[in-house]
């Protein structure tokens, strides 16, 4: 094996891939389009109360993992092209060794795969930003005055999966006092009766809870919730969606932790990227 030959052949492979517009489209542009399209789709899905959705980070990771499929396609096409044009026969007659061929074909593919992942995650950042905007919009249920809720304390959205209803609570950014309520779905737009909320009350907010130690990582605020008495509790749940532990996060605690959030219970997760999800 000769590193000089391998390097020359790898450079040639890279040039062949990068100079083919079809490869460029499917290797880079298509992934961005896919990311953009799926972000839009999941943004819409996130509007549906109770619908399972996926964060842009997870989406980017999925697409980055999918991208090497195209790389294997490119390498297969290139080798086939080299065979049919007898370019490979010319190289077989040269002093190139098997290792030169294998590395010369595969190293550029590795570089392309890494570049695809990088581009995918960079673009995901853009869509991630739009996700955050969407999140605010998600909390903004279209209050009549057209005001937008922004910052770290957007409007709280509740959903009742069983009854197919959803509603929003608009809070003051400074004192968390509820200003107005709005419902949609099965509820009428006016005169909503939202459990736990009425104008003028102060909403307490659950602190993010995290798994630690052997339980692994937590989806932040995976199952923080508020009950109708405005008592806040946090439920710690890991990726398995199984409650590992449950604890109260703020006072006053009027009631204990509901049975459905006791340790070992499976919970249904919706809109896991929401920072103010209520269940």
């Amino acid at each position: 094996m000769s590193w000089h030959r391998t390097w020359l052949f790898a450079r040639r492979t890279m040039k062949e891939i990068m100079r083919d517009p079809v490869n460029l489209f499917f290797g880079l542009a298509f992934l961005m389009l896919l990311l953009w399209a799926l972000s839009l789709i999941y943004k819409q899905v996130g509007q549906i109360p109770g619908a399972a959705t996926i964060s842009s980070d997870e989406l980017a990771a999925a697409i980055a993992a999918y991208a090497p499929v195209f790389v294997s396609l490119f390498s297969g096409m290139l080798i086939a092209k080299d065979r049919t044009s007898s370019f490979l026969a010319r190289l077989f007659a040269s002093p190139m060794t098997a290792a030169d061929f294998i590395l010369g074909y595969s190293l550029p593919m590795l570089v392309v795969a890494l570049a695809q992942s990088l581009v995918t995650f960079l673009f995901a950042r853009l869509f991630g930003a739009s996700d955050r905007r969407a999140h605010v919009a998600w909390g903004d249920c279209g209050f009549a005055d057209g005001a937008h809720v922004h910052g770290d304390k957007p409007a709280v959205r509740h959903a009742d999966e069983q009854q197919g209803r959803g509603w929003c609570v608009r809070r003051d950014a400074h004192d968390n006092r509820v200003h107005s309520l709005r419902g949609h779905g099965a509820d009428p737009d006016h005169g909503v009766d939202i459990p736990g909320y009425r104008e003028g009350i102060t909403v307490l907010q659950c602190r993010a809870v995290r798994c630690s130690g052997r339980w692994g990582r937590l989806r932040e605020n995976l199952a923080s919730f508020m009950d109708r008495d405005c008592v806040c509790r946090g439920v710690l749940a890991c990726r398995s969606h199984r409650v590992r532990s449950a604890q109260t996060q703020c006072e006053p605690v009027v009631a204990g932790i509901p049975e459905e959030y006791m340790q070992g219970r499976d919970i249904t997760i919706w809109a896991p990227h929401s920072r103010h999800m209520a269940m």
């Binding site: 000089h4 083919d20 190289l91």
Partner: protein
């Protein structure tokens, strides 16, 4: 084969011309027997032979998305030339084969004739002692073919060339000696005059038909 001669392997389709070249270049292992190139066995000394030979296959065999100069530099580098040497060799080949004007063009944009010319230039850039040309003019129009013949004629005496073809006029125009191949066996070897004399015919075509056809009948 003598040093510097153009030796033509003549045969009908499927006669075994390309297989012979494949075996001599180390692409296919012979089922039996051996052959010697430059005194080295193709079975035992392939590593020593390969840097000294080059092949221009039946198809154009160029990297389509590389420029003409890049194709030449790639092959020169693969055969061990340094970057500087490869650059100089590529420039020399571009000049010799009249490719300078299209040096920066991608290979796939060239006409069939120009691609063939590039293919042969890629075969010669490594200064091989033996060059294998497998049906170099197949699929070319008459002008491109004549042009390529001139290129190959210009190599006579400098490089030993083994040329396979089934075009009789090509053999007449280029070859110093001719071997007629039928079903994987060489049935006659000699100069054009010797083959005509051997067959008792006046033209190469008649001589070929008589020698090759006669053998087929016997087979």
């Amino acid at each position: 084969m003598a040093q510097g001669e153009i030796f033509a392997l003549l045969g009908v389709n499927g006669a075994g011309k390309t297989t012979t070249i494949s075996m001599l270049c180390g692409l296919t292992k012979p089922t039996s027997g051996n052959a010697y190139l430059l005194g080295e066995s193709i079975l035992a000394d392939a590593k020593r032979i390969k840097p000294q030979i080059n092949l221009s296959p039946q198809e154009t065999a160029v990297a389509p998305n590389l420029s003409i100069a890049e194709n030449l530099r790639l092959i020169a580098g693969i055969y061990g030339q340094t970057v500087r040497q490869a650059k100089a060799s590529a420039q020399q080949a571009l000049d010799e084969f009249g490719l300078t004007a299209v040096a920066t063009q991608k290979a796939h944009t060239l006409s069939g004739g120009m691609q063939r010319r590039l293919s042969i230039a890629m075969g010669l850039i490594t200064n091989p002692k033996i060059l294998f040309l497998d049906e170099p003019t197949v699929g070319l129009d008459v002008f491109a073919r004549r042009e390529l013949w001139n290129v190959i004629k210009g190599l006579k005496g400098q490089v030993t060339i083994l040329l396979t073809t089934h075009y009789l006029e090509e053999v007449e125009a280029l070859a110093d000696r001719i071997a007629i191949m039928v079903a994987g066996r060489i049935i006659a070897v000699g100069t054009l005059a010797e083959l005509k004399k051997q067959s008792g015919e006046d033209s190469l075509e008649d001589a070929f038909v008589k020698l090759a056809g006669g053998n087929n009948e016997l087979a």
